[in-house]
């Protein structure tokens, strides 16, 4: 559990075993606003779980409740087996990395990193040893005497991490820690954080609105919307089998196309396949999807198609007009206008023929589309 140097025994600093974090029916109200609505969620010991959602969805509030910076209106919060509702933040023994890093501007890097150790009255000698080894593991040795104002964004981020790691807390809480970094640095730090988690084996609750970050950092992802938990699962399942249309639209880049469709329950061919009629044409369904919609027996259905499952095909069943083309080198994103005015995003990989804006195009859908209930958005299982 040593920070990088494989350091053994940490002397008087008790090294907490990574532990479980749980929300049990947690609700938080600010006046009339419900920020978190009856959240029940568990982060396993040693697991990295990402709370994902758009801004204002309550993910940061949930994190702050776990940190002890907010008091839940209702529900039980546990760290390990201990109920911590009435435990002050300073006594919870969890570390937090803030979006703004929240480094103490009047203290140099060394003093920033050792701040939590001083709070715990760790002897000077051991403090020095822990600060040195942590700084080394994050490449901060040469910056120890600098003030935060003299550091770059990436370096500040590292100091914030070092301050969290140095005390070997029971869990890490991270509030959009990468969102103040530029794109390249963010990609680097993302990999570094994932590696760090792997190396330290600690429990991490990570908040972000960036679905790429969520997919790469989380062993599991919890998607939140308006304070309500939508789905918790491993990234692959959240991506491939989104629980509802909101999750489907939020995960994936570019996001999934969501279309209103109509299904004729009496329709169908001998081999048990059918199609859903949408604006601009139709989308074919395999036998299982057809059977599921027949069982459901309702004509209206919401259809989701990922941009990568659309391809240009002269025999395609969707007729669109090319309205926007973004060439990214390794792939191309097309914004296609449907006759009814809606837009459809298409992701084309490899070399494809030059497209001219205004061209009409036929698109084929690969595989079954995602099907959702148009009223509550829940997935229709096939």
């Amino acid at each position: 559990m040593g920070a990088g140097d494989g350091g053994t025994g940490l002397g008087t600093l008790t090294v907490a075993e990574p532990c479980r974090l749980s929300f049990e029916g947690v609700t938080k109200r600010f006046g009339d606003v419900i920020a978190v609505d009856d959240l029940t969620l568990e982060v396993e010991a040693g697991e990295s779980l990402v709370l994902l959602g758009p801004s204002g969805c309550g993910k940061s509030t949930a994190l702050r409740i776990m940190a002890g910076l907010e008091t839940p209106t209702a529900g039980v919060v546990r760290i390990g087996d201990r109920v911590v509702n009435d435990v002050d933040a300073k006594d919870r023994d969890v570390a937090m990395v803030f979006q703004s890093y929240a480094l103490y501007p009047h203290l140099n890097v060394r003093r920033n990193i050792e701040f939590p150790l001083r709070s715990r009255h760790v002897p000077a000698e051991e403090r020095a040893r822990l600060v040195t080894s942590t700084a080394r593991s994050l490449g901060l040795e040469t910056l120890l005497d600098r003030k935060p104002a003299q550091l770059s964004g990436g370096q500040r981020q590292r100091v914030a991490l070092a301050r969290a790691i140095v005390r070997h807390p029971r869990a890490f809480l991270m509030d959009e820690p990468l969102s103040n970094l530029d794109a390249q640095l963010r990609t680097e730090m993302r990999a570094e954080l994932a590696e760090l988690h792997h190396r330290l084996g600690v429990t991490v609750l990570y908040v972000t609105h960036d679905q790429v970050e969520a997919m790469t950092m989380g062993q599991r992802i919890a998607v939140l919307r308006d304070g309500v938990l939508q789905q918790v699962d491993v990234p692959r399942t959240v991506h491939d089998r989104p629980a509802n249309a909101f999750v489907a639209g939020f995960i994936g880049s570019p996001p999934m196309n969501i279309l209103a469709g109509r299904f004729d329950t009496a329709d169908g061919t001998a081999d048990g396949t059918a199609e859903v009629v949408v604006d601009g044409g139709s989308i074919p369904l395999g036998p299982a999807a057809t059977a599921a919609l027949r069982r459901r027996g309702l004509p209206d259905v919401t259809v989701g198609v990922r941009p990568e499952h659309l391809r240009a095909d002269p025999d395609g069943t969707l007729k669109v007009t090319v309205a926007l083309a973004e060439y990214l080198g390794y792939e191309q994103h097309l914004g296609c206008r449907l006759p009814g005015g809606g837009m459809l995003t298409v992701r084309l990989t490899g070399t494809s023929s030059a497209l001219v804006l205004g061209d009409t195009l036929a698109l084929a859908v690969e595989g079954d589309p995602h099907l959702f209930d148009p009223v509550d958005g829940t997935r229709i299982d096939v």
């Binding site: 940190a67 002890g68 910076l69 002050d88 933040a89 300073k90 006594d91 919870r92 023994d93 969890v94 570390a95 937090m96 803030f98 703004s100 929240a102 103490y104 501007p105 009047h106 203290l107 701040f115 939590p116 001083r118 709070s119 715990r120 301050r163 005390r167």
Partner: protein, 320 residues
């Protein structure tokens, strides 16, 4: 080169010469422009300098000069140049040291207590509770109260026969607080602290609100309790404001006059006779020479104290 300059044989040589003379000319132009810019700059500073010269520098020098003359007790008799002997006699007199002692005591009673109280009030009023604006207004209200009004209020409260304070302390009818050799100076200091608290409160409140909430949250998560957060995060970040309040407060306390004139007139038995008041009474007695020596001494003391503060205290200040 000068040959070429005089008789350009070829076009190329001529060009070189032209280039050289152009370089010299641009050098002159550069110097000229710098001088012109400097002149314009000084022109802008001039009005302010003129005002300072007339109202600050000249009186200052004149004060030091006047200290060299002994003024006769009657206006008709001319002043007499006595050199530094008047400086020596005044600044070694028992009265001067007594007055300096009172002044230092007054400063020590007002400045630290004022800053601590102002900071404490600001910290309390920083709480996010309903109706706190009411208290903020009350706490800062003394800023809008003149020293004369404050003095009259306290003069009444401290009155030995009808004053509320005398009644509460159970000493009504006896010797008044302002008439007590022991309590007159602390009483005047208390009035001064009360009068200044609004200003300190506003300063400290503004500084407190400028501290990012996240830093205190981070400190909490890093295991720091309330007191620890204050000493390790809040106070260091407030240090520029505390330093400013100390420098300004010390100068103001050294120069306090109104409350002393209205409450005690330096009494009883010279126990509130701070330097400014001593200077004032000397001036009232037409002893301009002595008053000038005292004024010069006050200036030098304040300058020294302020320099010492910048030299030693400012090292502990963190400017964000």
């Amino acid at each position: 080169m000068s040959d070429a300059d005089l008789a350009p044989g070829t076009a190329a040589l001529g060009e070189v010469a032209a280039g050289a003379s152009e370089g010299a000319a641009s050098g002159h132009r550069w110097l000229g422009r710098t001088l012109r810019e400097a002149a314009v700059g000084y022109l802008f500073v001039l009005p302010a300098m003129a005002v300072f010269a007339v109202f600050v520098f000249y009186p200052l020098l004149r004060t030091f000069w006047l200290g060299l003359f002994r003024v006769a007790p009657y206006p008709t008799i001319p002043s007499k140049f006595v050199g530094l002997s008047q400086y020596r006699s005044v600044l070694t007199s028992h009265d001067f040291f007594a007055s300096l002692g009172d002044t230092v005591e007054f400063v020590l009673l007002t400045v630290p207590i004022g800053i601590v109280l102002g900071l404490a009030l600001a910290a309390m009023a920083d709480a996010r509770i309903r109706g706190i604006r009411f208290f903020r207004t009350i706490y800062s209200s003394t800023v809008a109260t003149s020293v004369a009004v404050v003095s009259v209020i306290f003069f009444t409260l401290l009155n030995p026969t009808v004053g509320l304070f005398s009644y509460w302390l159970g000493i009504e009818g006896g010797n008044g607080i302002l008439q007590s050799n022991t309590w007159a100076l602390p009483a005047v200091a208390t009035v001064t602290v009360w009068q200044n608290i609004g200003f300190t409160f506003i300063l400290m409140s503004a500084a407190l609100q400028a501290i990012p909430e996240e830093l205190l949250e981070a400190a909490r998560i890093d295991g720091a309790g309330g007191r620890s957060r204050f000493w390790r995060v809040t106070l260091p970040l407030l240090s520029p404001t505390v330093f400013f309040a100390a420098v300004v407060g010390i100068i103001a306390s050294f120069e306090a006059f109104g409350q002393i004139d209205l409450l005690t007139q330096g009494g009883p038995d010279n126990h509130t006779n701070v330097l400014v008041y001593y200077l004032y009474t000397s001036f009232q007695n037409n002893d301009f020479g002595k008053a000038s020596v005292l004024a010069a001494a006050l200036f030098v003391i304040l300058l020294a104290v302020t320099l010492v503060q910048f030299r030693f205290l400012e090292r502990r200040v963190f400017y964000g």
